[in-house]
Structure formats: structure tokens, C-alpha cells
């Protein structure tokens, strides 16, 4: 492998990817590494046990190329593929826009098209690895119970990963041509998030509305879908047949994916260098967003801090979309609750836990931006303002934003039932305050642009934030139903859990 060859560059990319993954999996102190390994082992054992129960039941009924199996496999593969595509679009967008080593690469005498082709191929390999990883428990159990022929499924999954990368490159490059470099970054990231969420959410919503079942599998294995599926010789079933190990379909899928990726790279790669340079120019060019005029008015430091947080958020549509996207995932839960309890005349009460949960999640995201995502921490800390006043202003900014978001719903609910509106408002306040407190306890300085990766900075904080939102949602649900003793008990459990989380936080340790 000679220095400067594409193979050498591929090795360099692989090394960087491995070190990133290793840092996430095995980074930190020895105690953390041991705990991480133990959790990983338990998780692997759990998913294999789960896969065993599913696969053994399916094998008893026989797994073959029948319409039900093909429908189920195609739907499941499409669900997973949407996630892969979403991830791949994110990665390709980063390849266009992230500066990182881009200047070094573009300034080197190596052919840029080849380097970018390697980088895109790396994204394809990553998507393939992710697809194989997600399916590993099921395939392992199939191999164990039904023979090694199922190992061919890994090849089908790898091909699906490459297909996702090819489509992602095509989508991003098309957006670049259609919208230009300035808008593509934001639109591509929103498209990625919508693709990742929309299909999963809509299938789950359909399951809940049609079958009163939260499981997406209910739709994918339903009689209705099977009866409306195309004939068994349709080319739509090629991926499913490939997953079942049919040699012809598998060869077609692999050839098709590789061919499409090669074709897309052939078309896009030669322009990649100039596109990346244009993207860099779009970042460097000072966008003129109207004539924003500063108005020097007398305001307290607390007020100016609050207003700064709101202005920064309002001017960043990507952050708004990322924050609100979290709430989208609560839609199936709302539908399930509505279907389960709403028809008994108590529909308003079932809205309460969803609102509380959504507010907790929203507050967590906003609090991270205000506390950890402060882009000028030195300026704020050197200002002649007491630290407690700064923290209070940031908390007010977060809770104020959550209040503005949920106030219209609370007003509507209060017109129908004042009691339920009060319970909802109380639940929203404690859930938002808890999520904000967790972010304060676990704050770690970062750039706002790292918002998507905020979960990786502290697993405990991420878990605690979700856990407290769920528990407060449960407590509010019981209170809305008038079951106050259980509501109080649930709230007490959540408060104790929060105290435990606080004791584990770096602030407490310091």
C-alpha cells in the first residue's frame, strides 16, 4: 500500500472511524469502561433472548417465501432502511459541509474525486455495518436454530446499506443543485430527520388506529396488508427474497446496490471538490438577514440574558427543527392513549401525560442549549453578574420558552376542564424544571452545533432526563384521572430518583 494511494486513504479513514467508535464504546475511566462493557454484555444477552422468543415462534410456523413472510420482511426492511437512509444523508451532508480536514484534503495534490469517492464508500460501509449490527441477534438465532444458510442475510443487509448510501448521495447532491449550498445543509438535515421518523411513526400510528396495538409488527403482518400486497413474482420482493437467502435475488440486490453506488459516485464525485468548496464559501459568506438593528435600551442583565437565549434560538431554524422533532415521537403514544382511554369520555385526561412528557423533553433540549451550548461562556462569566443570577436567567429563558409553546394548549384545555388544565400545567412545570435541573447538574461546555450529539456527553443525564419525564407524565396521568395517592407516590419516586441523579452528577462530586 503506497503512501498517497486511495487504499492508503481508505485505511486512514477506517482508522479514524475506529478510533471514534472506540472512544464512544471504551472511552473514559476504567470504572466507566467496565460498567460500559457489563451493560453492553447484558444488552447483547437481552436482545438475543428477545430474538430467540420471536424467531423460535416464527420458525414453528415456517419461514419461507410466502406472501405473509415477504410482506413482513419487506416492511421491516423498509423501516430499518429509512433509518439507514436518514443516517447516510446526515453523513453525506457532513462530508460536504464539515470543515475538519476538508481544507487539508482539497489543498493536497491527490485527486479530490477519488478521495471523496473513498469517503462516500466509507459512509456506505458504515450504513452496511449498522444494518448488519441491528439484525445480528435475529440472524444469530436463525443460524443457531435453522442452519448456516441464514448467514447470507448479512450480505443482503450490507447491500441495503450501500443502497442507502447511494440514495443519500443522490438526494444530497440533488438538493445542492436545486437549492444551492446555503439552504442545502439545513434542508438535508430536516429531510434526514423526517425520513428517519416519518415512516416509523406513520406505521405505528396506523397500527394504533387500525389494530389498537402499539406494535408496528401488527400492521406489517396484518391480513389486510397481505391481501393488498403484489403477486409473489413481483420485483418488489427482491430485497425480502435476498434476506431469505435466495441466490438470484441476493445477486440482483448486491449488483443493483453496487451498480447504483458506482453510478452515483461516477456522476457526483467529480463535482464533489467544487461543491465542497462552494459549501465552504457559503459558510464563509456573511449572510445578510435583513438589517438587524440593535436597540440599546435599559434592561436588567437577567432580562438581556433571557432575550439573548430566545433570539439565538429564533434565528436558528435547524435547532428549532431538531428540538421539535423530539416531540414528533410522542405522537404514537398520544394516539395509543387516545384509542385506549379516550373513547370512554375521558379523552382530555389522556392528553396530560403526553403534554408533560413532551414538555420535559423540550425543556431538556433547550436547557442544554442555554447551559452547555453557551457560545461565549467566558464573556458571561466575566460579566459583573452573580453566577446565581446568570443561572436563574437561563432557567427562566428555558421555562419561558416551554411555557410559550404549551400555553395555547393549556388555554384550550382550561376552557373544557379547569381541573385538568391545572394538573397539566403543574406536571409540565415540574417535568420542565426537572429536565432543566439535570442539564445544570451535568453541564459540559460544548458548541451549539453539537446539539445532535449532546446525548453522548453524559449517558446518565440522558437517561435521567427521559426517566424523569416519563415518571412525571405518569404522576400527572394519575392525577388527571383523580387517583391522587398513586400520583403523589409516583411523584415522590421521581423526586427521590432525581436526588440520586444529583448525587451522581459531576457538580455534586466537585
Amino acid at each position: 500500500m503506497s503512501l498517497g494511494s486511495l487504499a492508503w486513504f481508505a485505511r486512514h479513514e477506517l482508522r479514524l472511524a475506529w478510533r471514534d467508535a472506540a472512544a464512544i464504546l471504551f472511552g473514559g475511566s476504567l470504572r466507566r469502561r467496565i460498567a460500559g462493557a457489563a451493560i453492553l454484555f447484558l444488552l447483547i444477552a437481552f436482545v438475543h433472548a428477545l430474538a430467540f422468543s420471536l424467531v423460535s415462534a416464527a420458525l414453528r410456523g415456517g419461514i419461507g417465501p410466502d406472501p405473509r413472510t415477504l410482506t413482513f420482511l419487506t416492511g421491516s426492511a423498509l423501516l430499518a432502511w429509512c433509518l439507514l437512509l436518514s443516517q447516510a444523508i446526515e453523513s453525506v451532508t457532513r462530508a460536504f459541509y464539515a470543515r475538519g480536514d476538508m481544507d487539508l484534503i482539497l489543498a493536497s495534490p491527490m485527486p479530490a474525486a477519488g478521495l471523496f469517492a473513498v469517503r462516500i464508500a466509507g459512509i456506505g460501509a458504515g450504513a452496511s455495518a449498522m444494518a448488519m449490527l441491528l439484525a445480528t441477534p435475529v440472524i444469530d438465532i436463525l443460524v443457531l436454530l435453522d442452519g448456516p444458510r441464514w448467514l447470507l442475510a448479512y450480505l443482503a443487509l450490507a447491500a441495503l446499506g450501500l443502497l442507502a448510501a447511494a440514495v443519500a448521495v443522490a438526494v444530497t447532491a440533488s438538493l445542492f443543485r436545486l437549492l444551492g449550498p446555503a439552504r442545502t445543509r439545513f434542508v438535508a438535515q430536516v429531510v434526514a430527520a423526517v425520513i428517519g421518523a416519518a415512516f416509523a411513526i406513520s406505521v405505528q400510528a396506523a397500527a394504533i388506529l387500525s389494530f389498537d396495538d402499539p406494535s408496528r409488527l401488527a400492521v406489517l403482518s396484518s391480513e389486510w396488508l397481505v391481501s393488498h400486497a403484489p403477486a409473489s413474482d413481483s420485483s418488489l420482493w427482491i430485497p425480502a427474497r435476498a434476506l431469505l437467502g435466495e441466490p438470484g435475488s441476493l445477486a440482483l440486490l448486491i449488483a443493483g446496490s453496487l451498480g447504483l453506488l458506482a453510478a452515483v459516485l461516477g456522476i457526483v464525485a467529480p463535482h464533489f471538490a467544487s461543491d465542497a468548496a462552494t459549501a465552504a464559501g457559503a459558510i464563509a459568506a456573511a449572510p445578510k438577514h435583513g438589517e438587524a438593528r440593535a436597540r440599546f435600551r435599559r434592561r436588567s442583565p437577567a432580562r438581556i440574558l433571557r432575550e439573548k437565549e430566545w433570539t439565538l434560538l429564533r434565528r436558528d431554524p435547524w435547532l428549532i427543527s431538531q428540538t421539535l422533532m423530539q416531540i414528533l415521537y410522542l405522537l404514537p403514544a398520544a394516539l395509543l392513549l387516545w384509542r385506549s382511554f379516550g373513547e370512554g369520555g375521558n379523552g382530555l385526561a389522556v392528553l396530560v401525560p403526553v403534554l408533560v412528557m413532551a414538555s420535559g423533553q423540550l425543556a431538556g433540549g433547550l436547557a442544554w442549549l442555554a447551559v452547555s451550548g453557551e457560545d461565549a461562556p467566558d464573556l458571561v462569566r466575566t460579566a459583573p453578574v452573580a453566577p446565581s443570577q446568570i443561572v436563574r436567567a437561563k432557567i427562566e429563558a428555558v421555562l419561558g420558552a416551554v411555557g410559550i409553546a404549551v400555553a395555547p394548549i393549556i388555554v384550550v384545555v382550561s376552557a373544557l376542564s379547569l381541573e385538568i388544565a391545572l394538573v397539566a400545567a403543574g406536571g409540565i412545570a415540574v417535568a420542565a424544571a426537572s429536565a432543566t435541573a439535570i442539564q445544570l447538574w451535568f453541564r459540559a461546555q460544548a458548541r451549539r452545533s453539537q446539539f445532535r450529539r449532546r446525548q453522548t456527553s453524559s449517558r446518565i443525564a440522558t437517561f435521567a432526563e427521559a426517566f424523569s419525564s416519563i415518571l412525571w407524565a405518569c404522576a400527572a396521568a394519575f392525577a388527571a384521572q383523580g387517583i391522587w395517592p398513586v400520583a403523589v407516590l409516583t411523584g415522590a419516586v421521581c423526586a427521590l430518583a432525581l436526588l440520586a441523579v444529583r448525587a451522581m452528577s459531576p457538580r455534586a462530586a466537585a
Partner: protein, 251 residues
């Protein structure tokens, strides 16, 4: 209360230890109205010292007085007198330079009319007029550094602390920054600046402190330092290398 006669900065026995001592019982005095350059090799403790003065790092021991105000006992009062500019300009991408200055003025509770006049004057003086109402996300590093400097100066600080302020600035921008700082010194403010560009220290600073391994190893005017190093007529670079006993250099 700040006093006119007190030194701009008086540090006694300042100590900070991370995994090893970063600042080791440091004593340092900067008289009011002086341009003071703090020099030292990488990891000498310059930035840690200045971050403690700015209230960004809590010392393990010692005292810091800014214009007579005990910065550890009354940090808010001390912060009113101090401005801090780091080598990496930290400003808000989604605000315009004028909005940024309005934000800083609000944090320091300045009179709005005076702050507005001061902001426009600084914007003009630092050559940011064309960018005043454009968001900072598109500004070059030099422009961002000038915005950060304007933010540091808008509240008329008595002590201006700059950590490598000329990093990334072109010659013209560096000249503007140096001129603005010298103007502030002429009006009675004090400037403490760390820099690795020894020519800048040699030309601008009235007094120079050399710090190594968390301790002040030499201090004085350029001539006094030449005397200490026993090398009359030599450059500051030679004196500096002599004083810090730079590894890798043959005697």
C-alpha cells in the same frame, strides 16, 4: 470601592494546581496606566494566571486585588473593572456585532445612550462599519477578534486583559488593535497582554514580566531585563530564551 492610587493589579502568593502546579505562589504588581506584557513558554501558567484574575478560574490560594478591590472577596465589583479577551474569540454567530455590543452593555448595566454611542465609536474605530448589522457567523477570524475586543472595551474597563490578542489578525488589523490599546493606556487604563510575538512586547510594553513554571522569573523594563540577563543591547528574544532556559537551544 476601587481607588485611583491602587495598582491596577496586585497578586500575592497566587497558587493553582491541576495535575501539577500551574501557578506557584506568584507575586505580580501592575501599576495603573501601564502596558504590561506577560511572557513565558507554553504551559508556563500565563493563561491560568490571567483567567484567575478575570474570575474564570478559582485559585487554590493567594490574593488578587484589581484597582484595590479584592477580586476573590467581591468578584462582581472586580469584574466591573476588568475586560477579558482570549485568543479564541467567543461571540454569538446568530447576533450582529452591534447586537453583541448591546448584549455586553446590558450585562455590564451600562447607560443605554452612552453604550450606543460607545458601540458606534468602537465599530468605526475597529473598521467594522460594513459588518455592524450582519450576523457574526460569516465574519473572518480577524473580524470576530475585533468584535470581541469591542465587547471588551465598551464598558470602559480599568484593566484590560488580553490572551494572545493578535493571533490570526492581518497586519492592518493588528495595527488597529495595537493603536486602540495604546489609546486606552493613554487615557489611564491598564493593559496586561500575553503574547508569543516578542517584537510586539518589545515595542508596546512599558514593563515585561517573564513567567516560567508558574513563577515570575524576571520583571522590568526592557533595559532592566537586559541587565538581568547580562546582555546589553541584545533583543528581547535572546533575553527571553536566556531567562526561561529554553530546552533544545545550545548555549
Amino acid at each position: 470601592m476601587p481607588t485611583e492610587t491602587a495598582p491596577a493589579l496586585a497578586i500575592r502568593g497566587l497558587t493553582k494546581t491541576f495535575d501539577r502546579p500551574a501557578v506557584d505562589r506568584l507575586d505580580l504588581t501592575v501599576e495603573a496606566g501601564r502596558f504590561y506584557a506577560l511572557l513565558g513558554p507554553n504551559g508556563a501558567g500565563k493563561t491560568t494566571t490571567l483567567r484567575m484574575v478575570a474570575g474564570l478560574v478559582r485559585p487554590d490560594g493567594g490574593s488578587i486585588h484589581v484597582c484595590g478591590v479584592d477580586a476573590l472577596a467581591d468578584p462582581v465589583a472586580a469584574k466591573r473593572l476588568v475586560a477579558w479577551v482570549s485568543d479564541e474569540p467567543m461571540i454569538y454567530d446568530k447576533l450582529t456585532p452591534l447586537e453583541y455590543l448591546e448584549f455586553v452593555a446590558g450585562l455590564w448595566s451600562l447607560d443605554p445612550a452612552a453604550a450606543q454611542a460607545g458601540a458606534h465609536e468602537l465599530i468605526g474605530r475597529l473598521g467594522l462599519g460594513l459588518e455592524a448589522n450582519r450576523r457574526c457567523e460569516g465574519l473572518s477570524k480577524g473580524m470576530r477578534q475585533k468584535v470581541a475586543l469591542a465587547g471588551a472595551l465598551i464598558h470602559e474597563p480599568r484593566l484590560i486583559i488580553l490572551d494572545e490578542p493578535l493571533t490570526g489578525l492581518d497586519a492592518a488589523a493588528a495595527r488597529v488593535v495595537k493603536d486602540v490599546l495604546l489609546e486606552r493606556v493613554r487615557t489611564g487604563a491598564s493593559v496586561i497582554m500575553t503574547t508569543h510575538i516578542l517584537e510586539v512586547a518589545e515595542r508596546m510594553a512599558e514593563r515585561i514580566g517573564v513567567i516560567a513554571q508558574g513563577r515570575l522569573v524576571a520583571e522590568g523594563t526592557l533595559d532592566e531585563l537586559r541587565g538581568l540577563a547580562g546582555r546589553a543591547g541584545t533583543s528581547l528574544e535572546d533575553i527571553f530564551l536566556e531567562l526561561v532556559d529554553a530546552p533544545g537551544l545550545a548555549a
